[in-house]
């Protein structure tokens, strides 16, 4: 339920609705966007970043919380791990049980490799499960992979690695077809045509969806396929460090049973890091739309083993996180709400920007409105209105229940009927644009048999990601990593395993005098409140 002050502001939103609906708000010019980002995007706040002092990205900046983890020692530094006692011995080790990890496991299995998935929580506990709005692919007659490339390249500020972006857009239709053949229920018309909409920054309607459970539908399908294939999945077990061999290859990982605190050794000829994002590090104290385990573990593992990062200083804040009520603060309100026509409106009822600018621009504009006193005060800060009743006025009654049932349900839990009243939103920490650097085949630049897929990769999207390109990238790059890892495993000979890089990293930290007190990777956020 909204407060009386909020209800007063809603009256202004209602009063301007009819006039607003008659005019599409103007899109910003390139110059206007650039000015806005510099003034309001959190990536431009210097206090949110610090310099990385050691390793391949030494001298570059990273979010403070990530830099602190990069400047922390391994929890194995003073442990004596017996690497001769091998608990799991496989061709391909997939670290992470989300969309990228499962896609990789399926393809590696299809290629005949002995593959295993290890995951910190349950298989499917991942940001993939929470992706709502959709997945992009240029598969309609008025669209093309080249148009998709242009949208994504421009939306990412011309910083995406062309070889990665090419793969993303060229393999997108095949990814959709693969999912469809696995049984993913895409929204279709009766003749089989996909129901597609715009996302922020798209020039064609190429957003495919499964209501607003797009990621969940994809995740539960690929998870089911992993289980059908009887691929071993070790749950509640974290990879806490990569193992290397005398030749400098990666040779597996040391695992931690999260429940018994026992260490285990997994030997593998190729390793795929598919550990996802970092929202639970709460950069700049933002709330997050990410799942509980999103703590950048794979970035730490890879970096300590010598793999460089790319664009680790660019973070995506989703414009529309829940600003109110507090119980769901920071939860994602899918961009699809705006794809379906809802406008962003300030407390005076003004549509201050086009609702489908790219996410960085849209988030910055909300922050600007709130900083300038045009936001609606909430117990935890402020927010702007997302005028959801417009959706039913544009597309007819029942559209919200049919197209975005998860959103409707989430708000009805707290007595807010988004069909009747607008909802309050504010940016939420959503996605790490950066990550470990890979080449087109999915391999890290420094270690020949270490691959990365999914959100842990940097460079696919450049410095901002478009809606629907992440569900796409986990499938495209997950599948590719699985295939490549199976191939490489067949050619790989491992030699004596060691954890020497842990000590070497500790020495570097000591020499740079920057070692933090804690250990990394973090594994889980520290949410438990302890009175002493």
């Amino acid at each position: 339920m909204f407060t009386p002050e909020m209800m007063e502001s809603i009256k202004k939103v209602e009063a301007t609705r009819e006039a607003r609906m008659a005019v599409e708000p103007r899109r910003m010019t390139a110059e206007e966007k650039s000015e806005l980002l510099k003034a309001y995007h959190p990536d431009y706040r210097p206090e949110g970043f610090k310099e990385i002092k050691i390793g391949p990205n030494k001298g570059q900046k990273a979010p403070v919380e990530l830099a602190d983890l990069l400047h922390s020692n391994s929890r194995l530094l003073n442990e004596n791990i017996d690497l001769s006692k091998i608990d799991y011995d496989v061709d391909v080790l997939v670290i992470g049980g989300g969309g990228a990890g499962c896609s990789a496991a399926i393809e590696a299995h299809e290629a005949g490799a002995n593959v295993m998935v290890v995951t910190k929580l349950r298989i499917g506990d991942a940001n993939t499960m929470m992706a709502e709005g959709g997945i992009q692919a240029a598969d309609k007659p008025n669209d093309s992979p080249v148009q998709h490339y242009l949208d994504a390249f421009g939306g990412g500020h011309f910083a995406a690695r062309p070889e990665l972006l090419r793969r993303l857009v060229m393999e997108a239709p095949d990814a959709i077809q693969w999912l469809n053949k696995l049984g993913v229920m895409f929204d279709k018309y009766e003749d089989g045509t996909m129901v597609t909409t715009h996302g922020g920054g798209t020039s064609r309607k190429r957003m495919h969806a499964c209501k607003d459970y797009s990621g969940a539908e994809i995740m539960r399908t690929v998870r089911d396929e992993v289980l059908n294939r009887k691929i071993p999945v070790v749950e509640f077990t974290s990879a806490v460090e990569l193992i290397k061999d005398d030749k400098g290859q990666v040779a597996g990982a040391v695992l931690l049973n999260m429940e018994t605190d026992d260490y285990l050794v997994a030997r593998a000829k190729t390793v795929i890091i598919a550990t996802g994002g970092a929202g639970r590090l709460h950069y700049q104290n933002f709330p997050t739309s990410n799942h509980y385990g999103a703590t950048a573990d794979g970035l730490i593992l890879g970096y300590r083993a010598g793999a460089p990062l790319l664009y680790q200083d660019t973070i995506q804040y989703h414009p529309t996180g829940v600003a109110y009520p507090s119980q769901i603060f920071g939860a994602l309100v899918t961009e699809k709400v705006r794809s379906l026509g809802a406008m962003l409106v300030n407390k005076d009822g003004e549509a201050y920007a086009h609702p489908l600018e790219t996410r960085d621009v849209s988030a910055s504009a909300i922050i600007r409105e709130c900083a300038g006193g045009k936001g609606v005060d909430t117990p935890l800060g402020s927010g702007v209105w997302l005028d959801t009743p417009m959706i039913e006025m544009i597309h007819g009654e029942g559209t919200i229940e049919k197209r975005i049932p998860a959103m409707l349900r989430m708000y009805l839990n707290y007595g807010i009927d988004m069909r009747k009243v607008p909802i309050l939103v504010y940016p939420t920490l959503h996605y790490q644009n950066g990550g470990l650097e890979i080449g087109g085949e999915g391999y890290t630049k420094a270690i020949p048999n270490l691959l990365v897929a999914g959100e842990a990769v940097g460079g696919i999207h450049g410095r901002n990601r478009l809606m629907g390109n992440s569900l796409l990238d986990i499938i495209v790059f997950g599948r590719n990593a699985g295939k490549a890892a199976a191939r490489r495993a067949a050619e790989t000979q491992l030699s004596e395993m060691n954890l020497d890089h842990i000590k070497a990293y500790a020495d570097e930290l000591a020499a740079a005098d920057c070692a933090e007190e804690g250990v990394s990777p973090l594994l889980l956020p520290n949410y438990a409140r302890h009175q002493r």
Binding site: L121, D139, G154, G192, T221, M258
Partner: protein
């Protein structure tokens, strides 16, 4: 500061702010969650929870991340429940009534008590989608079960031992793969790409200098 309420985690009393969810209240009480906590936003089903309000005899089920605490709430989480997933080859099974009989025959032991529907944390009509599955109406079963997050509360309460989420999942995969109409424009585009129709065009755009890309991007036409 909001009002404090008394809640009981596994029978032990804690005083917590009344505006918290069950999940954040457990963390407020000092629990470090490993099991029973996943996406924290109502999509993954990790935090299936059963509770009773002191003085009421009715047992309720919910997702801990989506449910606000109440005074006198006795809470037990169900971090794992042995639902029974049957394995199959999606490429060889058929989308007919027999598939349910073969893979999930226990659905025919449903006694119609509707406990599954009452237990659903997503307010789905669970018994109805099981009925559709019994009749081989796979598409209806898929639609009716679509919003399932797989928390398993239905199965916990089922006297017939049915693993409802798995039945819905099978129906959805069969519907997505076999029953929903084929997408011709998708097939066409995949074929075009495989035939190399876009190779030169994509190569060309990859080679363009940034200034030209900026020009193209800033002046591209946007579909209405």
């Amino acid at each position: 500061m909001s009002n404090m309420v008394n809640v009981y985690f596994y029978g032990k009393r804690y005083s917590v702010p009344g505006d918290l969810t069950i999940m954040t209240a457990m963390e407020y009480a000092g629990y470090t969650l490993k099991r029973g906590c996943g996406c924290r936003h109502g999509f993954c089903g990790a935090c299936a929870t059963i509770y009773r309000i002191k003085g009421c005899n009715e047992l309720k089920t919910c997702l801990a991340c989506q449910t606000q605490v109440q005074e006198g709430m006795y809470v037990a989480s169900i971090p794992f429940f042995p639902t029974d997933k049957r394995t199959y080859d999606i490429n060889t099974i058929k989308a007919d009534q027999r598939v349910m009989m073969e893979l999930y025959p226990e659905i025919y032991a449903c006694i119609g008590c509707n406990a599954c529907t009452k237990a659903c944390t997503q307010s789905l009509n669970v018994m109805q989608y099981i009925a559709y599955a019994q009749r081989g109406e796979l598409e209806k079963c898929a639609e009716e079960s679509f919003d399932c997050v797989g928390c398993g509360c239905c199965s916990v309460r089922c006297p017939a031992g049915i693993s409802h989420p798995m039945v819905g999942l099978l129906a959805r995969r069969l519907t997505g793969k076999y029953i929903a109409p084929e997408t011709k424009h998708l097939t066409d585009r995949v074929n075009e790409i495989n035939a190399g129709a876009y190779d030169e065009l994509i190569e060309a755009i990859m080679q363009k200098p940034i200034s030209e890309m900026q020009e193209l991007y800033n002046h591209r036409d946007i579909e209405k």
